[in-house]
């Protein structure tokens, strides 16, 4: 029998210290050993019994509940003031067999795998590699859990592929304390698994596009995601190039993604008739405090897998020394004017090294990201054709009203079908600023004020945008979510949630983030423990 340890805590925090937030109980569930329950599917189903027991116990105590993964989201989306459940020890996987496939499916069984919610991207890649397979895309690192990734919409910069949720085939959700609150959901238009398999892990099968795409980026509030069926693809190699190129050329590429006709070419990556090939990945790094005429860009080209390639690890970026970051933060708070100078000095450590080409698999290139202290990230999604315009607006904001201790980057992601996926444009440019958390002083505005200004500036300039659900924003900004997605989309998402969950469970699986964003009906909002720190995300 799976067992749960309960920790009575006063507060909880994210990995990167974006809290702390109040908490009562932290549950940590571990599965029964394979000596006692040898079959994976039995251990998987045994975990459902334990999670439903916890849901019942929590509900009977009149408290709410939220599952979370690696706490990598840089805001309070994973937080619940009552009870939180850590999923990291729930990492069973099961390859799907041909006899599990739906009769109408276009998927190949060899590409489908069921992963339990707490399996990290790193572990998934290891499992897939051992089958000669790979994820289609991931974020820039590998520590997130699969349930955490899809719940916020994690993306890389694979602009012909999409985000993590875009290769999900089916979702296994626990929606309440009763035996029948155990559902497997797939889109009707793209069924993957047959009823027999779905019945072996759940009590109810829903094949419905609207429900599936709403639950896909569910912000942790469509119940407990117990398992995720994903589609992998044959393992591949990426040739990675980092170059410094003229700003205007880099931005033209961002606005058009036309690599064929660009004056910038990587000689090794051109077609026989001399045109540039379209890369798998394009990322632009922007130091908004620098007047240099060039930007650093990163491009990756996809190739078939072969065994004999040079070990990429000596080049994979080493992390910045932590003490330097602390020093940086202190200096930034006290002497904001030093930020541009500091960022220039740190540029070499923050940005990938120019002209160091490498080849590696997806998990080798997007490898571990060691903890580097309190961090913030804000990330807006815009139509890629607005890339350079939005970049200019946000760089101006950051330099003129800042300076803010972070630097910008742009990544590009294919459109998602998820109802509340922030990669909603045909190709979305994710324009992001990452940096160190700072405290508001007389000389430097608070993090919250900065987030509010981002929203205001984009709105004033009529740039349509979304925001990464797992990153910083003024999430309580009036009408923000409806502005980003439109009333119909938001209402559809809410309606699907209502259809899936009982009225009690709608509240049970909601949290302050959902109430603040008005995605759940109004409830009192609980603020972090330390409200005088205006820079903390509330």
């Amino acid at each position: 029998m799976a067992t749960t340890k309960t920790h009575h805590l006063k507060h909880w925090d994210t990995l990167h210290n974006n809290g702390p937030f109040k908490l009562k109980k932290l549950y940590i569930t571990e599965l029964e050993g394979d000596g006692i329950i040898p079959k994976k599917i039995d251990r998987y189903n045994d975990a459902v019994v334990e999670i439903q027991r916890l849901i019942k116990e929590t509900f009977n105590a009149n408290q709410g509940f939220r599952a979370y993964g690696s706490a990598w989201s840089l805001n309070h989306i994973a937080h619940h003031k009552d009870c939180m459940h850590y999923n990291g020890f729930m990492n069973i996987h099961m390859p799907i067999q041909p006899e599990n496939l739906h009769s109408d499916t276009t998927f190949k069984a060899e590409n489908l795998f069921l992963f339990q919610c707490g399996t990290t991207i790193k572990r998934i890649s290891e499992v897939l590699s051992s089958h000669g397979k790979s994820l289609k895309t991931s974020g820039a690192s590998n520590g997130q859990t699969i349930a955490g990734c899809i719940s916020t919409g994690v993306h890389g910069s694979a602009f012909q592929v999409g985000s993590v949720q875009d290769y999900v085939v089916g979702l296994h959700l626990i929606t309440g304390p009763n035996i029948e609150d155990n559902v497997y959901i797939e889109p009707e238009s793209k069924a993957g698994l047959n009823d027999a398999f779905a019945q072996s892990i759940s009590k109810k099968i829903i094949r419905d596009d609207a429900m599936f795409y709403a639950a896909l980026v569910g912000l942790g509030s469509f119940g407990f995601i117990h398992g995720v069926v994903i589609e992998a693809e044959p393992r591949f190699l990426l040739n990675r190039y980092v170059r410094k190129i003229d700003k205007n050329v880099a931005l033209q590429l961002a606005d058009t993604l036309d690599f064929k006709n660009s004056p910038f070419k990587i000689p090794e990556e051109t077609t026989p008739d001399g045109f540039g090939k379209t890369p798998y990945h394009y990322k632009v790094f922007i130091n908004q405090y620098s007047d240099e005429p060039e930007y650093v860009v990163e491009l990756m080209y996809k190739n078939a897998y072969k065994n004999d390639y040079k070990d990429p690890f000596p080049i994979i970026k080493q992390s910045l020394y932590m003490d330097l970051i602390h020093l940086f933060t202190k200096m930034a708070e006290n002497w904001p004017k030093s930020i541009p100078w500091l960022i220039k000095r740190l540029e070499k450590s923050i940005l990938p090294k120019v002209d160091e080409d490498l080849t590696g698999t997806l998990p080798e290139i997007f490898w571990d990201a060691p903890y580097q202290g309190g961090a913030f990230a804000c990330s807006v999604g815009i139509d890629y054709t607005d890339s350079s315009k939005a970049l200019k607006l946000l760089c101006d904001l950051t330099t003129k009203e800042g300076p803010i201790p972070g630097i910008f980057a742009m990544r590009f992601v294919k459109q998602t079908k998820a109802t509340l996926g922030f990669t909603k444009f045909p190709v979305t440019c994710m324009l992001e600023i990452d940096g160190v958390l700072w405290k508001k002083t007389r000389k430097i505005m608070s993090f919250e004020a900065y987030c509010t200004r981002i929203i205001e500036v984009l709105k004033q300039n009529n740039i349509k945008f979304t925001q990464h659900w797992g990153k910083g924003s003024n999430w309580a900004y009036n009408g923000l979510v409806n502005y980003m997605y439109g009333n119909d989309t938001v209402n559809n998402w809410k309606a699907q949630r209502k259809k899936l969950l009982s009225p009690e469970m709608l509240h049970f699986f909601a949290n302050d983030f959902l109430y603040e964003t008005k995605l759940a009906a109004d409830e009192p909002v609980i603020h972090p423990i330390n409200p005088q720190n205006e820079d903390l995300i509330t």
Partner: protein
């Protein structure tokens, strides 16, 4: 006289600093055993760390020492993910004055996360 004291102090400080260093070995593959309580704020935040800070005795004939990693609550898999060895000035002194018989063992290690 004053100058020689300064120089001596400087030499001692640089000796202290240079004899204090850490070496970390980290597996490229595998995930670390997580610490869901996020109890640390250093490089190891989010990892379940076991710290050893002890003195080991090495007799005259043996030249090495093997420390065995067992399965425990803090090391559920019994397999290593990261090992950090720290050499301190105090440790070096102890080894010199005990003619190598006593060695300070200051090690942090993190185990692999068990897979289901």
């Amino acid at each position: 006289m004053k100058n020689s004291i300064k120089i001596f102090t400087l030499i001692i400080i640089s000796l202290l600093l240079s004899s204090c260093y850490s070496v970390r070995l980290r597996s490229i593959n595998g995930a670390y055993q997580p610490d869901p309580l996020l109890s640390r704020d250093d490089y190891y935040r989010g990892m379940e760390v076991v710290e050893l800070d002890t003195v080991i005795k090495i007799d005259v004939v043996s030249k090495d020492f093997t420390y065995l990693i067992k399965e425990t609550e803090a090391c559920k898999s019994g397999k290593l993910h990261t090992v950090e060895f720290k050499n301190t000035f105090g440790g070096s002194l102890l080894s010199v004055f005990s003619f190598g018989k006593k060695r300070k063992l200051k090690v942090k290690y993190v185990c692999m996360k068990p897979t289901n």
